[in-house]
Symmetry: C2
Subunit: 219 residues, 2 copies
């Protein structure tokens, strides 16, 4: 279970909220990116970045010169939010329209990972999330490349999950309206892969058809 706190307790529609760690993990694993919030003297800032999960930790990476990596490295309070949009809920009144979604909001501080083995394993996990099996086809990452990339770990500990699923819930009296109502499912979906100019015709090694999750393919 995730740890609940004042800031992680939803005020409205609490029935959509939970502290279920397995549900949180599934959302974190499916989503390719998150939004990280932090405070500054000038006000809040929210930046999108790639995240990935290993056990009960999230990882982030970035250029050591980026503001987000610097803020994270300083151990400042962060809010990490991941949202998957699952569908548009088309009801029998404008007011009853909604979205199906799953989201996780986490609170905590990151730490810089300097241990070499931990860093290598974490980056392997990133490649495995984004392009399963591809890392084995590539040259090893050099020490210089590892040094040029900051790795940050963040505990999956305090926060909550929120979601909505299922059909529209119409206002009483609207049920008899003669109109199609239901859900238009939405998902991040891959289109036909686009080879770059250096890829030889017929090159199948590394072709992304091998990518399993998180994106179903249309082509």
């Amino acid at each position: 279970m995730l740890r609940q706190s004042q800031r992680s307790t939803p005020r409205v529609k609490a029935g959509r909220a939970s502290l279920d760690r397995a549900a949180a993990n599934a959302i974190l694993d499916e989503a390719p990116l998150c939004h990280v919030g932090f405070g500054t003297a000038e006000g809040p800032v929210v930046i999108p970045t790639i995240h990935w999960r290993v056990g009960e930790q999230l990882f982030f990476h970035g250029s050591p010169g980026s503001r987000l990596a610097q803020v994270m490295a300083e151990g400042r309070d962060l809010c990490v939010t991941v949202t998957l949009l699952d569908g548009l809920v088309l009801a029998r009144s404008a007011f009853a329209h909604s979205m199906n979604y799953r989201s996780v909001v986490l609170f905590g501080q990151a730490r810089v990972v300097t241990d070499r083995a931990e860093k290598h394993a974490a980056f392997d996990a990133l490649m495995e999330k984004l392009a399963p099996g591809r890392a084995a086809l590539l040259r090893p990452t050099s020490a210089k490349e590892y040094a040029a990339t900051q790795l940050l770990a963040f505990p999956i500990e305090e926060g909550s999950v929120k979601s909505r699923r299922g059909p529209p819930i119409d206002v009483a009296g609207d049920e008899s309206a003669a109109i199609w109502a239901g859900v238009l499912p939405l998902a991040l979906t891959a289109g036909p892969p686009e080879a770059d100019a250096l890829t030889q015709p017929g090159q199948t090694l590394g072709f992304p058809s091998a990518l399993r999750a998180p994106w179903p393919h249309t082509a």
Copy 2:
């Protein structure tokens, strides 16, 4: 053009950044949801919510009892971030992998919209964004329903756009690696509509095939 400020100036990869208002508008219009950050005594909080644009303003809505609506209504400093993930960039080394994306980061304060005509027009625009043409098929929204929904306007003024597009940029020396490299395009895509239990068989009125943007259909 958007207004630049210290907090809206990217520190790294500045070549991916711009202040172009038309580019910002296109991203805001395509994305169905944003992430809103605000500060609290306990630290930063980032919440996903639906946004929509009318001219040079963004709109948000919510239950007046929700924390996000309350924070917005108080005129507190907000950061509104919208991100579209366009593709996975598969390079010839792990290090050169990347994502294609378009994002907008905006800073400012919201105001509660109480003017009746402005409120009605804004909600019409929300329906038109999410389900073009559908509002005309539904009963009018009641005064009670309008009263139960808080509308907030936010100026599209200070912020920046950041994006990456195009093929992988490999590390010098990797170009000859015998592997497929390129881009796996990703987009939020609609699947087959799921009618609810009250929808009569053969009901075509309001069927979401009429939905144009922002989601291409797979079915």
